[in-house]
Symmetry: C2
Subunit: 452 residues, 2 copies
């Protein structure tokens, strides 16, 4: 069987929340002003009640509303593939499977959380959504979700991506969203940055500050996060729950689960349902590999500390691996992997040695993406090309060890809107950036001071 | 049920050939030099034997090779959707279904024929494939198919599209193809055109001439056609065969089958398996609507006559509705619908009154595409936006008549590589071109003289 399909009736009816299963209690979010633990009330100006409840929930399972499942059914369950042609190309005895999220209308996993977030906001009378986007995948997903629930959507798009990816902007506009190149002069956060450098290319951190500020000053508006926080990660677990069923159908269980990490939601969505088996002791030997760009090596080289989630320091403060909230990575083409921190739960798992992070420069990742496209057909986005590089490493290790290990990886999106990156790769114009230790040291010097 | 999925075991194992079921014998192809009926030997310099046999076959069913079915399984069977949200948006009692071919790696129906063509060529020792492409969908599909069978692929891309759609070119290059902007100085046909007008924006007719010439002068090379001819149309019938099964699964049969027509292969692929039921008398009342652009209105305003398939007159001469082989349509954004003729079998069905053609200007089509994207999520290519316009007309007719007619249409590809067209639409920059009768009269004056 080349692809493993599930019926609509196999669509999960609940999300998996890893919080109660974590090997150590997660450090609480802190209030950006007081640096004291954050209460649900502090989140109310930003998020609707249902989302806040999910964010702090200790329930292992959270029911998916029927209206959300109805929308999910447009593209879910997504296919799981056996990549036999890739196995041959990599000359490996390993069996390689991938879960393909590029079949969603937005072309990535992002609608898995955009849709429930839009739904809960619409339920609570919100009329307008604001968010940031890097590569444009999250903004596209929110524009799509907004159109399903007749919500107005405003997107702050990191300027470098806005300019590199005009067609992502056009896509968001087709679904009815309004898109601004961040930093803008519409917010205090944006104006402050522009006053320092009016040609600034933007960063996810600044775009987040602008979107949060925009939502906070208007009663009818709420802010949407595309990654990092718990409720986003748990929405994404539909991916891994389906993948588990599909692996069962082919009688296999992964020895190693691989994905790319920007904020962590795509990888957590795939990995956490398998991680549950490792944490419970049912599958103690499964390995987990998180692939990230060497230009933004949060998990491999960041410090584990409390930091602001956004540059202006208006959002919650979280314990995570961070390069510092003022860190602005070089404009690599995997725009979705340029965040200065990572999801707190994923960071905890890395810190506990349960997830192994690896960092790669971009040319070797694009080489794997092109190899994949030529044997398996589908064109990967630049982000999952990092996962493909880790897959190639594991495939080589399997060949050397002579074992038939089962590799499962997440192909979290297609690259149809990233052809300029492929073009640059073929033209030899992609730079391989390795971050200097000095730059990291400088960036983390400005971490917030947290009372003991 | 929102989408109707088939299992891999439901993938058709044979293609449907409509030739033996046509209501009148099709007029034979003529040799471009002698204007006498063409024999299989005349096609040998261009096509491999297996393709020639299919082109002239009178067998109703033709077996699909296992190796082709294996590749098909990467994206087939494709989903069929009930478009309930579109029904509500159109305020119609009609039930609207669509068959979605955008899930293929190339994003359209084109790989359905590119893959078997590449397979048969590889089987017969061909090393190199040449073809033309307009919007880039066909070239992408061939680049993809070539990569599956390790064949070198050379694509002549109509210059206006080459410039409008650089990312389509990058996509073809990612799959390993070499792409030239046509007209080129690599062929006699191209040089002759450039000598007359070195800034010429190209046409499908000229690109075909170049690709045919390129294939004919090299022993290891064969030419690939993406539409119009019989073998292409029959390869596409996997679409309609699957759709029939899927409609059965929901207990419905279409009252009207709608698709867009450039050369006719996408529409024939969807419609012919249903047309078989009409021709056999099993379903005598099914209606068939072919939607085309008003800027290139072959079926609605062309003449039914023998004409060259390509501008230089090096390929077969076919009986069809044509605007003349020298006709160059204005550069509308539905690049795949700009061919001067149409598939002979489809033309015969139009001429016999079995298929109703309708022509639409592009702004009204984009309006329907945007409506569709905002309610159903998926972003249509500009080509099937013409089908959507016909769907909207039928939906309105159903409302007026108060009937619940079942509409089935083909969403033959996504528009991820056509965002510049959406951009132009939103900016009000798309022109609505209605062809003058004088221009048609002039174009058809140069039809070849055929002995009685």
């Amino acid at each position: 069987m080349k692809k493993v399909l599930l019926d609509e009736t196999d669509l999960p009816d609940r999300w998996y929340n890893i919080l109660p299963d974590l090997p150590a209690p997660p450090a609480p979010y802190l209030h950006p002003g007081t640096m004291q633990p954050l209460g649900p009330a502090d989140l109310a100006p930003i998020f609707p009640q249902a989302i806040i409840a999910q964010e702090v929930s200790q329930d292992r399972w959270i029911e998916i509303p029927d209206q959300v499942r109805e929308i999910y059914k447009i593209w879910r369950p997504t296919p799981l593939y056996r990549a036999e042609r890739l196995e041959r190309a990599l000359e490996t005895p390993a069996r390689i499977y991938f879960k393909y999220e590029g079949v969603s209308p937005a072309g990535s996993h992002k609608p898995n959380t955009a849709v429930p977030q839009a739904y809960y906001n619409a339920q609570e009378g919100v009329k307008r959504l604001t968010t940031e986007t890097g590569a444009g995948q999250w903004g596209s997903a929110l524009a799509l979700a907004g159109s399903f629930f007749d919500l107005e959507v405003t997107v702050y798009m990191v300027r470098v991506s806005y300019e590199q990816k005009p067609y992502r902007r056009a896509l968001m506009e087709t679904w009815g969203a309004t898109v601004f190149a961040s930093p803008t002069d519409r917010t205090n956060s944006g104006r402050a940055i522009l006053a320092r450098d009016f040609r600034f290319l933007g960063s996810l951190g600044i775009a987040i500050s602008e979107a949060v500020e925009d939502a906070a000053i208007r009663d009818d508006s709420k802010y949407f996060l595309g990654s990092v926080v718990n409720h986003v990660l748990l929405h994404q677990t539909v991916i891994g729950q389906e993948a588990k069923k599909q692996m069962e159908m082919v009688g296999a269980y992964p020895d190693v689960v691989i994905g790319c990490v920007g904020g962590g939601s795509n990888y957590a969505g795939l990995a956490y349902p398998f991680m549950a088996d490792r944490l419970s002791g049912a599958r103690p030997d499964t390995r987990f590999i998180a692939a990230e760009p060497a230009a933004c090596p949060t998990l491999t080289r960041g410090v584990y500390a409390y930091d602001f989630g956004d540059t202006a320091g208006v959002g919650p403060v979280a314990m995570m691996y961070t390069l510092g909230h003022n860190f602005v990575p070089d404009p690599i083409h995997a725009g979705g992997l340029r965040y200065h921190g990572d999801a707190p739960s994923l960071c905890l798992l890395v810190q506990q040695g349960l997830v192994e992070p690896r960092a790669y420069t971009q040319n070797q990742c694009f080489a794997e993406a092109v190899r994949f496209a030529r044997v398996e057909g589908f064109l990967p986005a630049p982000e999952p090309s990092h996962a493909l590089k880790a897959v190639a490493e594991e495939a080589a290790a399997a060949r050397e060890a002579g074992d038939e290990r089962v590799i499962l990886f997440g192909l979290c999106g297609h690259g149809h809107f990233d052809m300029s990156a492929y073009d640059a790769y073929f033209a030899g114009k992609l730079e391989d950036v390795e971050l200097s230790q000095q730059r990291i040291d400088t960036a983390v010097e400005e971490l917030p001071k947290v009372p003991a």
